[in-house]
C-alpha cells in the first residue's frame, strides 16, 4: 500500500517536473521539486513513525516568554 502511494506521488511529481522543463521554467521547476521533496519526506517519515520536528514547537519556543507573561497576568 505504502509503496503504491509513494510511487504514485513520485510519478506525479516526475510528470510535473517534466512538464515544467519542457516549458523551460527552471525556477518554477526547482521550487516545485523542493516542495515536493519536502512533503514526500515528511509524509514518508510520518508513515513509518519516525519523529519529524514539529514547526509549531519551534514557534512555541520563540514565543515562550511572551505567553509566560500573559499567563501570569491573567491568573
Amino acid at each position: 500500500m505504502e509503496v503504491i502511494l509513494l510511487t504514485t506521488l513520485l510519478v506525479w511529481a516526475g510528470a510535473g517536473i517534466r512538464k515544467l522543463r519542457k516549458q523551460g521554467l527552471w525556477k518554477d521547476m526547482i521550487v516545485y521539486a523542493c516542495l515536493w521533496a519536502t512533503s514526500t519526506t515528511i509524509i514518508t517519515l510520518h508513515r513509518f513513525n519516525i519523529p519529524v520536528p514539529n514547526p509549531l514547537d519551534g514557534i512555541a519556543y520563540v514565543y515562550q516568554p511572551l505567553s509566560y507573561l500573559w499567563k501570569q497576568w491573567f491568573s
Binding site: W36, S39, I42, Y63, S67
Partner: protein
C-alpha cells in the same frame, strides 16, 4: 506574476464573512466558555468590537498602499531582500495556518462523523478540492462562495431559530461572575482566531477587487454580519447546553445541532448542518492556501502561481499530519502560542510596514 482576475466587492465581502466564521463557528464557543464562563457571549461581543478596530486599521493600510498587495508593500518598504525574507516568513505563517485548519476539519470529521477513516486520506481529498479551486483561480473560488453562501446562512439560521425554544437565559447569569479579566482574555483569544488572520486578505483586496468605491462601510457591515454569527452561536451554545458543558465539548455547536428537535421537521439532522461548517472551513482553508501560494510565487518572481500549487498542496497535507500530534496539544498550543503568532503577522507586521513607510516616505504605486 499574472493577476488578471477580477473580484467584486460583494464577492470579497462574502469571502471575508466565511473566512471569519470559518473555524470560529465550530471552536469559538468552547474556548470562549472556557475562558469567560458565563460571560462567553460578552467576550464574543468584545472581540467583535476589537476586531472592528482591526478591520479599520487594515483598511487604512490598504489606503496607504493602494494597488499593492502584501508582497509589493514589503519589498517597497523594507527593500528587496529583507522584504523577500519577511514575505517568506509570511508564507510560513499562512501555510502553517492552512495546515492547522486542515487538521481541524479532518479532526472534526474523524471524531464526529467517520471515526475509522484515516485522517491523511481525508486531508488528501479535501486538499484535492482546495488545490483544484486555487488552480482555477480566486475568481472562481469567489463565485463558488456566492453559490454556497445562501446555503451556509440558511443552515446556520436553522440552528439559531430552532434552538431558540431551548434557550435558557438563566444559564448564563449572573453576568461578570468572575470579573472582567477572563472576558478580555477570551475576547483576545477569539480575536486572534477569527479576526487577525484577515491579514491574508491583503493578497486579494488591493489588486483584485474591482469596485472599491465606498468600500469601508460595506466591508464593515459584512464584518459585523460575521461577528453577529459568532456572537449568536456563542450565545446559543452557552444558553442551550450550559456553560460548563459548552466549555467541555470539543465541538459544542455540533452538540447543539444534535439536540435540535422539531418533531417531524428537523431531527437528527446534525450531519446536514455540519455541512455548513465544513463549507466555511473549506473556504477559510482555500484562502489561507491561496495566500501562501501566491505570496511564495510572487516573492520568487514566478510567472504563475499555478505551477507550484500542487506541491504546495502536498506540503500542506504533510504539515497537517505533523503539526498537531493530538487534540490536547492543539488546544494547548492555540491557547499559549497562537495568539502571539497571529499578533505578529496580523498586527505587528502591517503596523511596522505602515510606520516604516511613513518614516521613509514610501508610497504605494497608485495604479500599477
Amino acid at each position: 506574476m499574472e493577476l488578471n482576475e477580477k473580484v467584486t466587492l460583494r464577492q470579497f465581502n462574502l469571502l471575508m464573512i466565511l473566512f471569519i466564521i470559518g473555524t470560529s463557528i465550530l471552536l469559538s464557543p468552547a474556548s470562549l466558555a472556557n475562558y469567560a464562563g458565563n460571560d462567553a457571549w460578552l467576550s464574543a461581543i468584545l472581540s467583535v468590537g476589537i476586531g472592528m478596530i482591526i478591520v479599520i486599521f487594515f483598511w487604512m493600510i490598504s489606503r496607504q498602499f493602494p494597488g499593492s498587495n502584501l508582497v509589493d508593500v514589503s519589498e517597497q518598504v523594507l527593500g528587496k531582500w529583507i522584504g523577500k525574507a519577511v514575505s517568506l516568513m509570511f508564507v510560513g505563517f499562512s501555510l502553517l495556518s492552512a495546515s492547522t485548519v486542515l487538521w481541524v476539519i479532518g479532526n472534526f470529521l474523524v471524531t464526529q462523523i467517520m471515526p475509522a477513516t484515516p485522517m491523511l486520506f481525508l486531508h488528501f481529498l479535501l486538499m484535492l478540492a482546495v488545490v483544484y479551486g486555487v488552480l482555477l483561480g480566486i475568481e472562481v473560488i469567489c463565485r463558488t462562495v456566492e453559490i454556497f453562501f445562501p446555503y451556509i446562512v440558511t443552515l446556520l439560521m436553522i440552528i439559531f431559530f430552532f434552538s431558540i425554544p431551548s434557550v435558557q437565559i438563566d444559564r448564563i447569569r449572573p453576568w461578570l461572575d468572575s470579573g472582567f479579566k477572563p472576558v478580555l482574555e477570551g475576547a483576545l483569544f477569539d480575536v486572534s482566531v477569527s479576526m487577525l488572520p484577515l491579514i491574508v486578505l491583503f493578497m486579494v483586496y488591493p489588486k483584485l477587487v474591482t469596485d472599491k468605491n465606498r468600500a469601508l462601510p460595506k466591508v464593515l457591515t459584512s464584518y459585523l454580519i460575521a461577528g453577529t454569527f459568532i456572537i449568536a452561536i456563542t450565545f446559543i451554545t452557552t444558553t442551550v447546553l450550559g456553560v460548563k458543558i459548552t466549555a467541555n465539548q470539543a465541538y459544542p455547536t455540533y452538540v447543539v445541532a444534535k439536540s435540535l428537535n422539531i418533531e417531524g421537521l428537523i431531527q437528527r439532522a446534525e450531519v446536514v448542518i455540519a455541512v455548513s461548517w465544513i463549507l466555511t472551513i473549506f473556504f477559510k482553508l482555500s484562502l489561507y492556501f491561496y495566500a501562501s501560494v501566491t505570496v511564495l510565487a510572487q516573492t520568487l518572481n514566478l510567472k504563475t502561481y499555478r505551477t507550484i500549487t500542487v506541491p504546495m498542496g502536498m506540503l500542506t497535507i504533510a504539515l497537517s499530519v505533523i503539526v498537531y500530534p493530538s487534540t490536547t496539544y492543539a488546544n494547548e498550543w492555540n491557547e499559549t502560542t497562537w495568539l502571539w503568532f497571529a499578533l505578529t503577522f496580523g498586527i505587528a507586521y502591517p503596523l511596522l510596514l505602515s510606520l516604516i513607510a511613513m518614516l521613509r516616505g514610501v508610497k504605494g504605486r497608485s495604479h500599477p
